[in-house]
Amino acid sequence: MSCKKFVDTSTPPNQIISSTVFSSSATANSAIAGIYVQMTKVVPTVFNGEVSLYLGSSADELTPTFANAEVAAFGTNTYTPTNSYIGEFWINAYNYIYQANACIEGLSQSSAIPDSTQKYLTGEAKFIRALCYFYLINFFGDVPLITGTNFKNNQAMERTASTTVYAQIVADLTDAQSLLPASYGSAAKQRPINIAAAALLARVYLVQGNYTAAEAAASFVINSGKVSLESDLNKVFLLNSSEAIWQLYPVAPFYNTVEGVYFLPTASPVNKPLFAMTSALVNAFETGDQRYVNWVRSKTVLGTVYYYPFKYKVRSNSTVTESNMVIRLAELYLIRAEARAKLNNLSGAETDLNTIRTRAGLPANNSSTQASLIGAIMHERQIEFFAEWGHRWIDLKRSGSIDAVLGTLKGTNWKSTAALYPVPQSELLVNTNLTQNQGY
């Protein structure tokens, strides 16, 4: 009956339905690319700079200099369940997870896409899902482990033990390592390949204390021949630098990286950098460290000296020359150093540590004991990865030194329960099966 046809409509011109998305390689590829766009289109968001800014502020690296109570709360570790940034971490990470899940489901049901394409796109989706869960755990502790798109199954799910979540991360990354291609293609460093999965896996194993596996995964990356350390420290963070394992390409107009915008002050003599390095961080650099020379700058405003990270050197430009560095090779050397040290291979550990120290123009480390060597590696991580993707915050937590370090730095404000962010209030209201973290 024609009447019935009159009220049948197709989707609007800017939409396609789910089954169509996974009916061709091109649209399926767009679905994966769409996740990266979602991650970087808003400036800043959780994986587009905020981990560097806010985890750095929560740790002992950065101090926000502008008047915003919610941002200031990261510096003082007094965030509340209604903190909108923390709410965004949760909401955005689960949105990316949904997309990854949708891609994994769509690709598995598709018969129209060549097998090789299906594999590497599935590998990318699993890699992204693992990355999101890794950070969710480090933000919130236990979180609901969602691996499908059916909201009816997911909406009331309670928090999953982080060991179970880690197991899923390891499974996803192991899959990704075998599914992803072994060489960089036309997307260069902006799309992950197998060594990106291995690198993230090495990081996860280290956090889990699985040092043998961490060493093996790190070696897989280091020995892959696809990446090499940049000898010139000023080139490390450039687009597709040789050290980059995976970068997240900036898509928003005028931006290179959020770090560039937020760390580099404007030319106006009265404008401070929005986040200043703490004196604890500035003082942690050894004399002669080329990273201090190349990666730190200062600006004096109204008589006060503000130090700020200078890893990224472009504040804003419509031509992209710097891309958001998510994983780079230096980390793998330090992961392997730490894993080897834990496994009592002190000489192997020292070799890896000194690879990084040498590049920074520092003398070789000569620790006599396992403990002092591990201490040296942790210090090296603090300097090498300062203001970068919250490494310091995660290191302080996994090493158990967070209460000592932040208790000293932040005084009575610090509570050990602040090591986990509160579960957003809005989520507790809509999912009564969720529980709040201690101390909130």
Binding site: V7, D8, T9, A33, Y36, I91, Y98, A187
Partner: protein
């Protein structure tokens, strides 16, 4: 009216009284009649008149009776002769003309008989030629220089010619009066021969006549058309209030024209029982929230219940944008509501607005009628000579309630106290406004940013003409309204309206066409200037010594509000609305007709951030940005119908069937263009270096079959059945169609013999209705699991992302409506009372359900929710004529609504995502809050009731206080006094309600609470300062994490931010004066009226700081409007 479904042809439409002045002695008729009177006569004579034209006459008669010749002319020339038979008796004519004009033919016919004629439209009265001198034979008394006095005798009859007893006849301007006897006759001695006699009667229209030296008067008075019998527009037809089984409220042209308003919605505030209207901002063009009979949907997010707009239909065409904000770009000046599309409808083009409320009235609109229907009917031409109407008014908008801000000394004191409370020494970081800025200078931003007033001009003109077959109307209007913000900000609207109606001679074929077109331009600012008032009062000079915008002092920057004035937001809309109807009586009693409607609503918006409005010291150097948006709605509708009328026994039956096909397309696009190097290029797309486009188009298709059967038994019992099958593209396969129906009944008990004897009760009707309507107002495409393009590509690869969580099984929301009502009329219709009780139950709730964000979205596009929401209420309307005599009339109009909203049931509420927001048995609008217990005199902190006694205030355990923000009751009271040419009308609107108070605005915006770097209303001076203080507000703080900071976080979740927001507002005051007819006749004027009008002149409320309707201190409050105008009709 013969039939309760009124004839659409305005043949009986005239409302003017008529009169015959008869000089008995000379048997001479002088017809001084208004055209409508002639028409009535023509109708009585049952003469069919053809359309009026310039036909040529051909006559050939030899000694034929004059009457025969005249009849021949009548048949050729589409005219109607009116004469006394004794004038033409025994008169013979010999005439032979060919292709003569009517004038020639008539002159030739009448020249030999001392007869002449007057032309009134298509009607020609024939009468003897007036003779020179006073041949009346009246008894003329001449004395001195005073006008001669005569004795007057007369007879007063009604339209049927029956004598009317008890008519008061008085001489205007004197105390002389008498009444008519049972023969309708009266006598009055020694009346000035130029005197004006006034005839008044309780059930007849008042009438005035000039004596003009005539001693014998024959007066025909017209029965007052009862308010009960006025034409009542309903869905797909018309009826009268008397016979309507449904609940429909009409706002008439005269109620609208009394108000100097821009948006027709403003005319309805407080005037329609059950209709609750809230303006969102005082900025011209801003939106109105419209809700009929309460909140029926639980909504997406608690605290943002869906708008639940009624369906707006203009001349049979659904208004495509309905009452939804259409602005794609943001002008934050308009508050939270955006711009109202209804501003594009000129209130002066509106003849009436009908609000359809119950199932009986709305079920025929099926799913679209769930939230009620508002029909807007535009003006049509009327039968009669060419009439010109000209109306102009001008005046001022004045701010309603200005916030008193702290001066610099008070502000600096507040800041220092706050910092001291937190143990902070002043430095450039925590107090740049005190350390880096001059703490003595003072800028009154109220003066800088809000002018005293803004000018309004409105000009309307129209002409109309009609004969019994064809009527047309052409109208045009221009409205301009300034803005209180300094600079060139204003709203302009130009509009045109045309209406043509035609009916064939045999009255079988009818057609009508109406079209309205308007162009509206609204210049606003991108940023909210009402919020800029909160800048610190010691803000540095806004301009530097060279006259350039200043941006910082000693390195501390501020947002310069003068820069906001350089950042324009322009909105242009074009609204075209056309409707064409054609009908034919194909068989006796069977009419086929169809209507075709088209509406396009095109909106163009631009917002610009020029370089000149930005801090030049910024790095990189600022470039210009411009945003462009277009939002186009196009909709068409075709509705073929068949109507069959038949009399069965003592009953009249009407059966209507029809179909409806409607399509609405909404195409929109935005382009964000950045990087302009030159401000002059901002109005174009060229010149930018980067573009971010976004566009989409949405199609909504809708179809229906509907039917209505009405049976009226002996004007006593009326039954009305209506049903509809609807299909909507908004539902997934298998769920697109739904069936809806209603039954309504009325018993006019005053037509029963046993009640007819009650002398005080003129009319009484009991009515009831029950039915179901549906609702598909969920948005389009909600059942598609679809992906959309990302705005950017990723390293050369375009992106796709999933846009929504879907559950494609959702179906129609069902609304069941029950109503009982009565209409009573007492004391010769001087008291008219309507009362109704309704109960609407909305189930199968159609919502986009909030779910946890771990699902990926936090919301499911559309689901049916097993909740039942009930709205009940009492609605009253009382119209009285308190005084009605020849000099003074006093009418009152009172409406009252007592609504009650209740979440009747919500299965598994406790485990649903709504657990924390909704409460079974309570209103949807109930807020669950901590109970505020005042400021602790010792600690200086806000305190709250610790319900669970765990020594801390936690949500939701301690949030047990419920506050219902629904209005408790609302309505309006209008009094209209008419004395001679003066009319004074004042309308009070009242609402009893709770609402968010100014403290909510103050404390809920982080970094804007008292003590922070932002100015405050002077009310905050009353805060706690030292132990022992009893203060309204707690101690000041500026630091997050302090006890005071935590307390204020609790405060905004407490009932401390809820206050009585009731108000009594003098919504409309209107005073007008019409020059007496005798003065203006010489100037060929029919009406010359001067008027003064005021809107919102007085508000009585206990609500503090700002307006009780907007309830936000950062929104421009409602404006007062004072205008003066002139209306001419000729």
């Amino acid at each position: 009216m013969q039939d309760f479904v009124a004839c659409k042809v305005p043949f009986f439409g005239g409302t003017e009284p008529k009169l015959f002045l008869l000089k008995r002695e000379t048997r001479k008729i002088v017809l001084v009649m208004k055209i409508t009177a002639v028409l009535l006569l023509a109708a009585v004579l049952q003469v069919s008149a053809k359309s009026w034209g310039q036909e040529r006459i051909t006559l050939s008669f030899d000694n034929a009776p004059l009457e025969t010749v005249l009849k021949n002319i009548q048949s050729q020339a589409n005219v109607q002769f009116i004469y006394r038979t004794d004038y033409v008796k025994d008169k013979k004519v010999t005439i032979s003309v060919s292709n003569a004009t009517l004038k020639t033919a008539l002159d030739l016919c009448l020249k030999n008989f001392q007869l002449t004629y007057d032309v009134f439209g298509t009607n020609i009265s024939i009468h003897p030629v007036k003779k020179e001198g006073n041949k009346s034979g009246a008894n003329v008394v001449v004395s001195g220089g005073t006008p001669p006095l005569i004795d007057v005798h007369g007879r007063v009859v009604n339209e049927k010619g029956d004598p009317v007893e008890g008519v008061t006849v008085s001489v205007k301007g004197s105390t002389k009066s008498t009444t008519t006897d049972k023969n309708g006759e009266f006598s009055m001695a020694t009346v000035d021969q130029d005197a004006v006699l006034v005839f008044t009667h309780v059930s007849m229209e008042a009438f005035e006549v000039k004596v003009s030296g005539k001693a014998e008067l024959s007066i025909r008075l017209k029965a007052k058309i009862s308010a009960l019998d006025e034409l009542q527009v309903i869905a797909y037809g018309t009826t009268s209030k008397r016979f309507n089984t449904g609940d429909v409220v009409t706002i008439k042209e005269e109620d609208i024209s009394k108000q100097s308003i821009t948006n027709p919605l403003a005319a309805l505030e407080g005037r329609v029982p059950g209709l609750f209207i809230t303006p969102k901002s005082g900025v011209p063009g801003s939106a109105f929230k419209v809700q009929l009979r309460g909140q029926s949907s639980v909504g997406t997010l608690p605290g943002s219940l869906p708008s639940g707009n009624p369906l707006f239909i203009v001349d049979g065409v659904p208004f495509a944008p309905n009452n939804l904000p259409f602005d794609l770009l943001n002008s934050s000046t308009t508050g939270t509501g955006g711009l109202s599309p209804l501003t594009s409808i000129n209130p002066s083009d509106i003849a009436s607005i009908e609000v359809l409320k119950d199932a009986d009235a709305t079920a025929i609109y099926g799913s679209r009628g769930a939230n009620g229907v508002i029909l807007i009917t535009t003006k049509k031409g009327v039968t009669g000579k060419t009439q010109f109407n000209f109306n102009v008014y001008t005046g001022e908008n004045i701010i309603g309630k200005r916030i008193d801000f702290l001066n610099t000394a008070q502000y600096v004191g507040l800041r220092k106290e706050a910092l001291a409370n937190d143990g902070l020494a002043l430095n450039a970081t925590n107090a740049p406004d005190l350390v880096l800025w001059d703490t003595t200078r003072y800028t009154d931003l109220n003066k800088q940013l809000l002018s005293q007033n803004a000018h309004i001009t409105d000009v309307e003109g129209s002409m109309s003409w009609g004969n019994p077959n064809t009527q047309f109307l052409l109208g045009s209007g221009y409205h301009r309204e300034g803005n209180l913000f300094p600079g060139n900000f204003h709203l302009d609207r130009g509009s045109m309206h045309v209406s043509i109606n035609h009916v064939s001679n045999d009255r079988k074929f009818t057609t009508s066409f109406s079209a309205s077109y308007s162009v509206e331009k609204n210049n606003l600012t991108v940023n909210n200037l009402a919020a800029a008032l909160f800048l610190p009062p010691n803000i540095p000079d806004l301009y530097d010594a060279t006259g350039k915008l200043n941006w910082s002092q000693n390195g501390y920057n501020f947002g310069n509000p003068m820069a906001y004035l350089l950042q324009p937001f322009l909105s242009r809309t074009n609204n075209l609305l056309g409707n064409f109807q054609v009908g034919y009586e194909i068989l006796p009693h069977l009419v086929l007709r169809s209507s075709f409607g088209y509406n396009t609503f095109l909106s163009d918006q631009q917002s610009q951030i020029p370089i000149s409005s930005q801090d030049p010291s910024a790095s990189p150097a600022p470039t210009g940005n411009a945003n462009f948006g277009t939002n186009e709605f196009r909709s068409w509708i075709v509705e073929p119908q068949a109507e069959y009328k038949q009399t069965i026994s003592k009953g009249k039956m009407t059966f209507l069937v029809g179909g409806s096909w409607q399509q609405t397309n909404n195409d929109y696009s935005t382009i964000y263009a950045t990087g302009y190097a030159n401000d002059a290029l901002l109005g174009t797309l060229t010149g930018a270096t980067q573009y971010t486009p976004n566009s989409n188009s949405i199609q909504y298709n809708y179809e229906a079959l509907f039917g209505r059967l009405t049976y009226n038994w002996d004007d006593k019992y009326i039954l009305n059945f209506s049903g509809r099958r609807d299909g909507s593209s908004r539902f997934g396969p298998g769920n697109k169609f739904g069936n809806f129906g209603a039954v309504g009944g009325a018993w006019i008990f005053t037509n029963e013999k046993f009640i007819k004897k009650l002398p005080f009760l003129n009319f009484g009707k009991l009515r009831a209705s029950y039915g179901t309507t549906g609702n598909d107002q969920i948005g389009d495409y909600k059942f598609f699991d679809s992906w959309s393009s990302t705005p950017y590509s990723y390293y050369g690869v375009s992106g796709l992302y999933p846009i929504q969580l879907v559950d494609s099984t959702f179906r129609w929301e069902v609304n069941k409506k029950l109503e009982f009502g009565t209409e009573l009329s007492f004391a010769h219709e001087r008291i008219l009372l309507s009362a109704s009780w309704f109960q609407n139950r909305s189930s199968n709730q159609l919502i986009n359900e909030k779910v946890s964000s771990q699902t990926g979205f936090g919301v499911v596009a559309a689901v049916n929710f097993p909740a039942v929401v009930q709205n009940t209420g009492w609605e009253f309307s009382l119209q009285t004529k308190n005084i009605s005599n020849s000099k003074l009339t006093w009418r009152s109009n009172f409406t009252l609504t007592i609504p009650k909203n209740k979440l009747l049931s919500f299965p598994n509420l406790a485990s649903s995502s709504y657990a924390s927001f909704l409460i079974e048995g309570q209103s949807l609008n109930v807020q669950r809050l901590y109970h505020y217990t005042g400021v602790d005199p010792t600690s200086g902190l806000f305190t709250f009731l610790d319900v669970n006694k765990d020594t801390s205030i936690t949500y939701p355990a301690d949030a047990t206080t419920l506050k219902n923000l629904d209005p408790k009751f609302y309505g309006g009271l209008e009094n209209t006094f008419t004395y001679k040419g003066f009319t004074l009308s004042f309308f009070f609107q009242f609402t009893k309600q709770l609402g968010y108070n100014y403290l909510n605005s103050l404390y809920s915006l982080k970094l804007f609470y008292p003590g922070a770097i932002t100015n405050q209303p002077t009310e905050v001076l009353s805060h706690w300062q030292k132990p022992g203080d009893e203060a309204a507000l707690q101690k000041l703080t500026v630091t997050s994490g302090t006890p005071a900071y935590n307390a204020l976080n609790n405060f905004i979740r407490s009932d401390g931010v809820i206050s009585d927001a009731s108000f009594l507002r003098l919504r409309t005051l209107s005073l007008s004066y019409s020059l007496p007819a005798s003065w203006i006749h010489a100037a060929h004027l029919q009406t010359c009226r001067f008027y003064l009008q005021g809107q919102n002149l007085l508000t009585i409320t206990s609500y503090k700081v700002t307006d009780p309707q907007m309830q936000n201190i950062r929104t421009l409050p409602l404006l007062k409007t004072i205008t003066g105008g002139l209306q001419l009709n000729f």
